[in-house]
Amino acid sequence: MSTQTTAGRKAPGTAAGQPSQTMKKAGAWARRAPLLPALVFVIVMTQLPFAATIVISFMNWNAYYPDDIGFTGFDNFVRVFTDTNTREAVVATVILTVSIVLLSLVLGLAIALLLDRKFLGRGIVRTMMITPFLVVPIAAALLWKHALYNPEYGLLNGLLTLVLGADAPQPDWISTYPLPSIIVSLVWQWTPFMMLILLAGLQSRPLDVIEAARLDGANNWQIFTHMTLPHLRRYLELSTLLGAIYIVQAFDHVFTITQGGLGTANLPYFIYQTFYVGQDYGRASAAGVVTVLGTIIIGILALRTVFSMFKEES
């Protein structure tokens, strides 16, 4: 099955245009049967709630005003697009996602290259490297906020005092650098994830080809750009895709470190707040719909045009 066929819209019924339909159909259903439980489960659990969210997004529905519920057309969407808070949330989401994905990808690649070499204690270093990924996100966020960033007794300022003496600068990291504070903590948590995928990619390189290139006089840089990077392409795409999916939805760090203040409220936090604190169901739903459409459009573009993952599978 090539991408040419997948590029069209989904239409399960029209797929079988070939002869001997009834026989083939019976076989096709036998093949589909194992797929159905998962497919039905996912559709019921994701598409139905989302459809309901779309309906609610056209309603004026704030739980604090139970007598004032009804349809209002596009009001919520107009408010979503004109409200500065929402726009700030979109901007924060883009900044956070792009910078965290890129930074952890580049760092992850560099560290994977380091760990791909043999050295004393490589296994221990790999174990140390994956530890941040295994710390529960909310625990990691608490750790960064209270044990590291805290201006009075956090480790960062403590080390500054230790190195520079009693009159060392004691910046209030979170209020001075709100976005970078969140970015650093999330890059710390996600770099190991990127590193693991890329390390698996590096270790699946065909070494004999690289040896041959080396014998032909290729230097390390040439081997890296002409052989390693092309081989890693799928792994880079996969880690970008998975990382982006999870980092777009990052909630725990924003929730803990800044409580969404100082321009750090990303869309998940914004929707959470509109829904959970503001009880404005209509507006929260509209923001949710916009977020989903945005991510799906970007996701489809990335998957169908830029990424090679779907193109070569057959």
């Binding site: 489960f41 989302f50 309901a52 490297m129 990691a140 006089g217």
Partner: protein, 303 residues
């Protein structure tokens, strides 16, 4: 191995040319691993980076083992006497119900995910259904759907049917959350089963069950372990859904962590002890199954 590295190490500028020297030609299989090209400098750098990344966690553990008065100091008191005060107050706050809720939700949803994902992945890899890439894409696209976007209807539905603040609701949602990724992982593992082996089994007259047991299971067992580990980690870690959809009864460990801080004020040793205990199951599982984790995460890209 390490001694040769260190021999080469002290002269980094010359190392590159040396690596291409004729000496290399006579090397055998064992040296196909890129060991010899490395040098001590890069090994030290790797250690430094590894230590830098693990340092916050070490600091968390060390702080958790200090008395409150020694935990929050500037400059940091690295060598203060150890104390279990933080752990005592954490366990004094009765963390068992939330820990048990987390365990139930994570384990049961992980089992459900595997039960649903395995047949689906089979249908998508071995003799795949038509338009299987479309189906795969559909599954993945549900991950683009931020959890919060479906949260309100789920909340309202849960209130209606009385599932609010129950572990069952979390189990259903965590299954939904992890199923697409598990299908992706298992699909890539299953598509590594050689078609020739399946055909051979068929010619030998092996039934579906025997084929599953003897041909497919050995290939896919590591994949199941990897997928299960990933699902367990993501379920155990989840905060947003649990925070909105549970209360006093079904609250999970991450929710407990958030309430812990606000209700007790800030006791750093206590917070660190709590964070460490809650992270411990994932840390243990992750360390024990590192290789599975690597295999699982590189799914799909591996051919």
């Amino acid at each position: 191995m390490s001694t040769t590295n260190e021999d080469v190490g002290p002269t980094p500028p010359g190392e590159r040319t040396e690596a291409r020297a004729p000496r290399r030609r006579s090397e055998t299989d064992r040296n196909r691993s890129r060991g010899r090209r490395s040098n001590a400098g890069l090994g030290v750098l790797a250690w430094a980076v590894g230590l830098l990344f693990v340092a916050p966690v070490l600091w968390m553990v060390l702080t958790s083992l200090h008395a409150e008065t020694d935990a929050a100091t500037n400059p940091p008191s690295f060598f203060a006497p150890l104390s279990l005060e933080g752990y005592r107050s954490f366990f004094g706050a009765d963390p068992w119900p939330p820990l048990l809720n987390s365990l139930t939700a994570s384990v049961v949803s992980t089992i459900l995910v595997i039960v649903l994902a395995l047949p689906a992945a089979y249908a998508l890899s071995i003799r795949p259904v038509k338009r299987w890439t479309d189906v795969m894409f559909f599954f993945l696209s549900t991950k683009f759907l931020p959890l919060v976007a479906g949260l309100l209807p789920i909340y309202l539905f849960a209130v209606q049917v009385g599932l609010l603040d129950t572990v069952w609701l979390l189990i259903l949602l965590y299954t939904t959350m992890n199923l697409p990724i598990a299908i992706w992982m298992l699909q890539s593992f299953l598509s590594e089963v050689p078609v020739e082996m399946l055909e051979a089994a068929q010619i030998d007259g092996a039934g579906l069950l025997r084929t599953l047991r003897e041909v497919i299971a050995p290939v896919v067992m590591p994949g199941i372990a990897a997928a299960a580990l990933i699902c367990f980690i993501f379920s155990w870690n989840e905060l947003l859904l649990a925070r909105v959809l549970t209360g006093t009864v079904a609250g999970t460990a991450p929710v407990f962590l958030t309430s812990f801080v606000t209700s007790q004020g800030l006791f750093l040793a206590q917070v660190c002890a709590a964070s460490f205990v809650v992270s411990l199951p994932v840390l243990a599982a992750g360390f024990a199954a590192q290789d599975k984790l690597v295999q699982g995460l590189s799914m799909g890209a591996v051919k």
